[in-house]
Symmetry: none
Subunit: 231 residues, 4 copies
Amino acid sequence: MKERGDDEKAPRRDAALTRQRILDAARGEFSLHGYSGGRMDRIARAAGANVQMIYRYFGGKDDLYLAVLEDTYGRIRALERQLDLAAHPPVDGMRRLVEFTFDYLVENADFVPIIRNENVAGGRFAKRSKVVPNTTPPLVAAIKDLLERGGAAGAFRAGVDPMQLYVTVLALCFTHLSNRHTLSVMFQHDLGDPEWLAQRRRHVVEVVCAYLTKGPSEGRDQERHHQPALP
Amino acid sequence: MKERGDDEKAPRRDAALTRQRILDAARGEFSLHGYSGGRMDRIARAAGANVQMIYRYFGGKDDLYLAVLEDTYGRIRALERQLDLAAHPPVDGMRRLVEFTFDYLVENADFVPIIRNENVAGGRFAKRSKVVPNTTPPLVAAIKDLLERGGAAGAFRAGVDPMQLYVTVLALCFTHLSNRHTLSVMFQHDLGDPEWLAQRRRHVVEVVCAYLTKGPSEGRDQERHHQPALP
Amino acid sequence: MKERGDDEKAPRRDAALTRQRILDAARGEFSLHGYSGGRMDRIARAAGANVQMIYRYFGGKDDLYLAVLEDTYGRIRALERQLDLAAHPPVDGMRRLVEFTFDYLVENADFVPIIRNENVAGGRFAKRSKVVPNTTPPLVAAIKDLLERGGAAGAFRAGVDPMQLYVTVLALCFTHLSNRHTLSVMFQHDLGDPEWLAQRRRHVVEVVCAYLTKGPSEGRDQERHHQPALP
Amino acid sequence: MKERGDDEKAPRRDAALTRQRILDAARGEFSLHGYSGGRMDRIARAAGANVQMIYRYFGGKDDLYLAVLEDTYGRIRALERQLDLAAHPPVDGMRRLVEFTFDYLVENADFVPIIRNENVAGGRFAKRSKVVPNTTPPLVAAIKDLLERGGAAGAFRAGVDPMQLYVTVLALCFTHLSNRHTLSVMFQHDLGDPEWLAQRRRHVVEVVCAYLTKGPSEGRDQERHHQPALP
DNA sequence: GATGAATGAGCTTTCATTCAT
DNA sequence: TATGAATGAAAGCTCATTCAT
């Protein structure tokens, strides 16, 4: 029944392209539904392929998901390197980092859900990955360099831990997106609202800068309150 | 495996108890696997009941999940009210709030995953709930009161938005837990480590206090950088 | 917690009444949904009782269904006996029987579904019943008597089989009710329409009377056509 | 149990064949057990397939059932058209229709249960179908043509409603099959007995012909009894 | 007599995955 | 390379039925 011409030599479709379309579709699917909620056939359909192609190109759901995860980390780390923080004065560099992180998470709407969903999965796939741990040290080093230069110049307080600082920056840029739905219900206000996001961007930059540029609170206060807050 | 004391007088057929056991088991299950990953039979087994009891007492997976979610919000909001922030001086009250939030999220290990998973589910259930939006306004009011009293006394900077501040507090206490797995792989360091948590607690309190007690940066800087950070 | 007076001697409820309410509810349920589609809890709720009462009074779903079935046959046979066909002239008696059957099936809307559903169940319960076969012979005898008196008087054709005749009467009164839904869709006309029912009542009586009062077609024709109608 | 010839060349993987086997198996299952009593896994097993194939080819239980129902109506209506009633003299044509209907229902043992079960289901699926109402008008038209030609020729009584007549024909051919089980118990005689069926075939033809060829009863009788039998 | 608690078995449906072409 | 056919495993949910008070 199927009529086929004899010019069947040409590749039906471009393999690399198909692979990429699958990867993109998978990112969208997993960001929307997480690992266990993600459906292979939806990915296939969205990619204009069929399920078996996914198995051919990626091996299975696990491998596909891992590919998406590593791609996600690879992208942001590459752009961060392009910030070239070492070439900027400390205050300026720090602001660049915060603003970049804030903007990247807003503009790349898949990032937050993908990371969040990987944590739902218990980091099962991140642990298996080599990309994730290997691309982080350069980032930490860049932050450390900023903090040390800032500290030496008297612009920043001394003794700030780069890891703590990065977690804080990420937290401030991440949570209103990762928890957008619950927070929107709580506050009865859409946190995706551009107005609100612009306001938050200023707030976040200010929080980080205030912390870094203010002298530390007097030590006596520090420990006085370090106790379980609840009786 | 089943440890049975000889005080087996406790009634096996106690509806309220069974219901509670199911709710507890469901909280554990949904916190570990999310809504779509959560399994009814695992919940039943963990509760020492069987699946049909869940349907009897809760109606279905949706309703059970919603019960868990509302219970989760109900608990933390109730404890927050007990902080009695209005009775404390502003700086002290704010510290209490931050420390309480930090500690509660650490000590109630289900809270973060439950909230995170609800966001994975797109806030589908939170939107359906009356508990979630109704219990938030008192919290916002308490924060607003602290900020206004602090501002009037010159202890806090002026014009801080209560909602932004709460999102910041939550973010600083939430992300190292919600993203613990990926961050632990990134930094090759377990963020559940008590040492690290203690360090972070001090850091978080300091970040919030530094922000509130420092005069705002000069306005000129504010807008100069308000632009897409990426070319 | 439960406050009970000391006049607790009086029977909580009337057993016979409860039993009857269950039976009525079951008739409604089984007539609507058949045996396998019938739900015990719906019956209990409709009877204002609970499921366990059904087990107490009837034993189980099977026994309850059988009770409904026997009750159904018992009612119509009892009313047929009251027609007292032996006391009427043949044509009149036959007309009474047809009209009674037609009207009874219309007015007792549960009859047709119950009988139909029992046939869906393969007559499984009717076979187990003593009521069903035992109440039929008097009916056959009454019809036989009408036919013989009519034949002797020349009013009816001779040699009519009472069983064939009863099946015909039942068929003519039964099918537009038992097949009401499919026929209504086929003809795009509601066969429950009172107008249509009145028209059918006249038609049915006429068909039966015409058959009985007309001399038989010439025998030669009879066998000529007894062949598979399709080539 | 499985009889396999040595001509096992037939492709196991033939979609159309599998689909057909499923449809046939479903017809058998639904005719035996009705919609709600019908079991998907029994159908799959009977079709030599597995349950998922049913979902693949038909979508679900509802759709499968509807396919069976429409197929059932499609078949009989197609054969009725082949009777070519317009080409026969009225009496002959009518006899052909009655005999065809009688024989088809006997020989296609699934037809009666399928239709009966659809009525148990309240015509839920027939209402959703386009096949059922669309294939009926030609049949009505053919009957109308016979009646008019017969009336004009003086062979048939005048003013017979085609719809009433068809319902009567169907009823006379349907009820001893649809109610076979209860009637067999009532009369303590198997109505599936070929002897009895042959006798009924003659009876049914005679009833219809007698009605059509006999002049209507005198009007006085008609209305005298036309009253609501019950107040 | 009446009722809440509990259960075993089964049903429809879905999903990731593999086979054969 | 690409695709239709087929399947094992499980998930959510329901139902008739029994236990214990």
